[in-house]
């Protein structure tokens, strides 16, 4: 299978995401000004500071030409993964519920955190076990997930929260310890921690690889069906 990894001006983690994808499949960088997704099987919106995070995180990238195609791809059921800034972009694009607010300390924090897998029967977590802990680094200034009570209730009721910070690990103040959330249809997923930075024992843990493996396995199963 082939992943497409977006590159906006100011994106920083696209090469990291590409390398992570290439551990389980192929990967192509997609330029923000193009509209052609080049037939990829899944899209990764990577981390960084698209358009300098000016105006509001993710607010400008959401209007990039490539995002029109990503939104259409998502509406047709294509798998889309948003990491950190990518999560923020997908929330701004209305593909994911809630919003990301500044961390409660108002500071950038880079820290290895433990996450708990809430649901394993999804496109993005099928290589994990329910209740499994994943050690993955997080690094951001604006990662406090928030949703109004009614929306939050709905998200929880639908089982859309796939990852939560383990007890004591929620440094950004996210509502209900939410670290990663999917859309109602289940084909779009965003998380603040960086699974692409946890794919090699040399540079830390390999727990993040399970996210990419899950997307790959889902795609392979669908192709076989």
């Amino acid at each position: 299978m082939r992943f497409g990894v977006l590159r906006f001006p100011g994106t920083c983690d696209e090469v990291d995401a590409q390398l992570a994808c290439e551990r389980v499949g192929e990967a192509t960088i997609l330029w923000h000004g193009d509209r052609d997704l080049q037939g990829v099987d899944a899209v990764v919106v990577p981390g960084g500071f698209s358009y300098g995070d000016y105006l509001r995180v993710g607010a400008i990238a959401r209007f990039a030409p490539i995002m029109e195609s990503v939104i259409a791809f998502a509406r047709e059921g294509g798998p889309v993964l948003g990491i950190c800034n990518g999560f923020q972009v997908l929330c701004e694009a209305g593909l994911l519920p809630g919003a990301l607010l500044p961390n409660r300390t108002l500071r950038f924090v880079c820290r290895q955190v433990d996450l708990v897998v809430e649901h394993a029967d999804t496109i993005f977590t099928n290589a994990c076990a329910e209740g499994e802990r994943l050690s993955i680094p997080a690094k951001h200034t604006t990662g406090c997930w928030y949703a109004p009570a009614e929306l939050h209730e709905q998200v929880e009721a639908n089982g859309q929260v796939l990852l939560r910070y383990a007890p004591g690990e929620n440094f950004n103040g996210s509502l209900a310890d939410v670290a990663g959330v999917r859309n109602e249809a289940g084909n779009v997923f965003g998380l603040m921690p960086h699974p692409e930075h946890a794919v090699d024992p040399l540079t830390g843990s390999t727990d993040g690889l399970k996210i990419f493996q899950s997307i790959h396995d889902h795609s392979a199963a669908r192709a076989a069906a």
């Binding site: 001006p9 100011g10 994106t11 920083c12 983690d13 090469v15 990291d16 390398l19 551990r23 960084g48 500071f49 358009y51 300098g52 995070d53 000016y54 300390t105 500071r107 950038f108 924090v109 880079c110 820290r111 680094p137 690094k139 960086h194 692409e196 930075h197 090699d200 040399l202 540079t203 830390g204």
Partner: protein, 750 residues
């Protein structure tokens, strides 16, 4: 062409206001054969400033060895570079941004990072790491806490946003930095050998293209007004001379520059830093032995109505200058458009040997390049060792009752600002982006970055290691030996991860060199650095000098900051500092002769700085480092940590906390009763704490002075000492962790 007419003489001699002496002004008139006009005078004042001309340090710096077996590019280019094997080069350099940071810490530190990154990608290398070296006054001062908070935020803001990891650094708090903080930033980049790019302008008729941010009035006179004079009253008025950074613009500029080089569209490339267009253009012309015509009216401006001299001296950030063959200009402009980066042909290379500034076709400045770049007079220093102490004794912070009680001293040292956990600072930096970080800031004595491997996935990765260090207080005690210690400390840090030093970069932060005692500190320090570099066979690949670091209350501690880069063959074997396996033997290794004067404990006790430090046997230290390096590479030891601030007891505590294991340490017979404190808390070069299986560690004793002092674990998560007279004492790790965590966290979050 008619020679530009000199401007009408002003009431106060304008050259003095710009920092030039009367003699220097006469020399400029002599070189031009006339009086300079306003444009020329402002350009000369920058090029002949201390910051650009190194007029008080150039002669001294000639002592430093600048060649070695791994050297690819030495001093003189935007950054130096060493060979790390497989056809790859690492380019690196450290630079100061002290005075801007003292005036406006957030922007000063941010643009310091931006500037050093441009130096690295200007030589064609993709930046892969940033480190920073910071000095502030004591943490009980509100000004120091303000400077710390904002400088750290500025470094994070810039480095994080641009996608270059900040992987290490160092941080000290000492009274003499109260008014004049130090912010030194180091960057490393990676390139294939043949991609290394020089800055010499070649080929008369080639186009000169300026690309990046628009040119504004910010930073005008930064090099001469801020960087080359002492700080004092009215520094708030200097705020307009601090530049404003835009990391998003730099990110685009960096990707654009690297793509231009990838596509081989450029003849040469140079960044615009201090003294802006003046310095970058004249350096390019000088290196190529050619001339340049610059049309200031073609420079895209941020605000209308800027004078030609303002365009030439503006220090607006995020700009680059390149030389392009005429037939490639369109392609270059297209790449810049892709990256949303403004690019303009602003001039051309000539064979005149002159830098000409034109405005709407009229010549408004015309100077021989040589006069601007090479003819600034160099000054001999008049060093004189001071007869009385320059620095007051530090304020006592330890309760007198604790003076000789190790049980009370250890937590106090761990809590003290220079020893406490750096996590509250380094957590504000992204240390992971680019996926190369093998050792993060608290995992080992040096940061380790994996290099690409020829096997796609799973092969052996060679790696580089990097460390930055320089304790100003030790250098203040003894500029010669203190500087040797700083170089040895960096090499020791590299040894602890298994890396062999390849080259170093330095930033010499000193006071006013026109004062004899500062001149003495500077010349002794450079002599020490030269001797240490020769003894280790490590060349200086480039660096920076920052002088006039003085406030109203006196000079800073003399602070030579050393950044050293090394290589290790297998990243998977990179050393760690923390104890990892219960039952491992713990050894103190190396030619270590600890002493208390000048130590962190002496500081806590409020003792005055000693006049001199003990002699260091550099050859013996080097030999010990080689044995440690080899043992780490072979996997014979499981942890290695060098003994530094706070001495052996602090090093042991750090090893326990780093690995999450307690230790039982037996000091009986290790020293006479009266030497107990020296042994536990004394400092000096050459000591390592090693742990590993007893037989393999014991085997090292054939080549290395080594004493077994204890065992990992064997206690209930505590560090326990047995001392002479069978006195015992122990500390729960939780207590030590809390003490070490609080030191900086209280100041930052408080």
């Amino acid at each position: 062409m008619t020679a530009p007419a000199p401007d009408a003489p002003a009431a106060v001699a304008p050259h003095r206001a710009l920092g030039l002496t009367d003699v220097e002004y006469e020399l400029i008139c002599d070189k031009l054969g006339r009086e300079p006009n306003a444009v020329e005078l402002s350009m000369f004042s920058l090029m002949w400033s201390e910051h650009c001309a190194y007029k008080h340090s150039k002669q001294l710096l000639r002592q430093l060895p600048t060649d070695g077996p791994y050297l690819l590019m030495g001093p003189g280019e935007n950054a130096g570079a060493v060979d790390v094997g497989d056809g790859l080069a690492i380019a690196f350099k450290v630079e100061s941004h002290n005075h801007p940071s003292a005036v406006e810490p957030f922007q000063g530190a941010a643009t310091g990072v931006g500037g050093i990154l441009r130096d690295v990608f200007a030589v064609g290398a993709r930046p892969i790491a940033v480190l920073d070296s910071l000095r502030f006054g004591e943490l009980d001062s509100a000004r120091s806490r303000y400077l710390l908070e904002h400088a750290v935020a500025g470094i994070g803001h810039y480095g994080n946003s641009i996608g270059v990891p900040t992987i290490g650094g160092e941080l000290y708090f000492e009274g003499p930095y109260e008014q004049n903080c130090l912010v030194n930033a180091m960057a490393l980049g990676i390139a294939e050998h043949e991609r290394l790019t020089r800055s010499a302008a070649t080929g008369p008729g080639n186009a000169l293209v300026l690309f990046g941010a628009l040119t504004g009035r910010d930073g005008i006179g930064g090099a001469s007004v801020l960087a080359s004079a002492e700080l004092g009253e009215g520094d708030a008025d200097k705020r307009p001379t601090v530049q404003i950074g835009d990391p998003f613009a730099e990110k685009k500029l960096m990707e654009c520059s690297l793509e231009l080089l990838d596509r081989e569209l450029l003849v040469s490339l140079q960044d615009l830093g201090a003294a802006g267009l003046t310095s970058s253009s004249s350096e390019m012309a000088s290196k190529g032995g050619l001339g340049l015509d610059i049309h200031v009216d073609r420079v895209p401006l941020r605000e209308p109505g800027m004078e030609p001299f303002e365009v030439m001296v503006s220090e607006s950030q995020e700009r680059m200058l390149c030389v392009v063959e005429p037939e490639r200009v369109d392609e270059v402009l297209a790449v810049c458009t892709k990256w949303e980066t403004t690019a303009t042909v602003i001039g051309e290379v000539t064979d005149s040997g002159r830098l000409r500034v034109l405005n709407d076709g009229e010549v408004v400045g015309d100077m021989p390049v040589e006069a601007l770049v090479d003819d600034c007079p160099l000054y001999d220093l008049a060093p004189e060792k001071p007869s009385a102490p320059i620095y007051p004794a530090p304020a006592r912070t330890l309760l007198p009752a604790a003076d000789t009680d190790p049980h009370a001293i250890l937590p106090e040292l761990l809590r003290s600002a220079n020893v406490a956990d750096r996590r509250p600072v380094f957590e504000q930096y992204d240390c992971l982006v680019q996926s190369r970080t093998v050792r993060r800031p608290d995992e080992a004595d040096a940061a380790v970055l994996a290099l690409p491997t020829t096997d796609a996935i799973g092969g052996t990765h060679p790696a580089i290691a990097v460390s930055i260090d320089g304790s100003g207080r030790r250098v203040a005690c003894d500029p010669y030996r203190g500087t040797i210690e700083a170089v040895l400390e960096c090499a020791a840090n590299l040894a602890c991860v298994g890396a062999e030093p390849l080259g170093l970069t330095n930033c010499l932060n000193f006071g006013n060199p026109e004062k004899p005692h500062i001149a003495w500190q500077l010349s002794e320090s450079v002599r020490g650095m030269a001797d240490a570099c020769r003894a280790l066979d490590v060349p200086v690949v480039g660096g920076n000098v920052s002088l006039y670091n003085e406030g109203p209350e006196g000079p800073i501690y003399p602070t030579p900051v050393v950044g050293m880069v090394g290589r290790l063959p297998d990243a998977a074997r990179a050393g760690r500092l923390g104890f990892t396996v219960e039952g491992d033997a713990i050894a103190l290794a190396g030619p270590f002769t600890p002493s208390l004067p000048g130590s962190e404990l002496a500081k806590l006790r409020g003792e005055p700085l000693p006049d001199g430090l003990p002699e260091v046997d550099v050859a013996a230290v080097r030999a010990a480092q080689e044995v440690v390096r080899r043992a780490v590479r072979r996997g014979e030891i499981r942890s290695a940590h060098d003994v530094a601030e706070g001495g052996l007891a602090v090093a042991l505590a750090e090893c326990c906390l780093g690995g999450g294991h307690g230790a039982r340490v037996d000091f009986r017979g290790a020293g006479a009763e009266g030497e107990r404190l020296e042994m536990l808390f004394g400092e000096g070069a050459g000591g390592f704490v090693l742990s590993g299986p007893r037989p393999t560690v014991a085997a090292l004793a054939r080549e290395l002075q080594l004493t077994f002092v204890g065992e990992v674990g064997g206690t209930d998560d505590a560090l326990a000492f047995t001392l002479d007279g069978d006195a015992t004492m122990s500390w729960p790790l939780a207590e030590l962790r809390e003490a070490r965590a609080r030191g900086l966290a209280d100041a930052i979050d408080g």
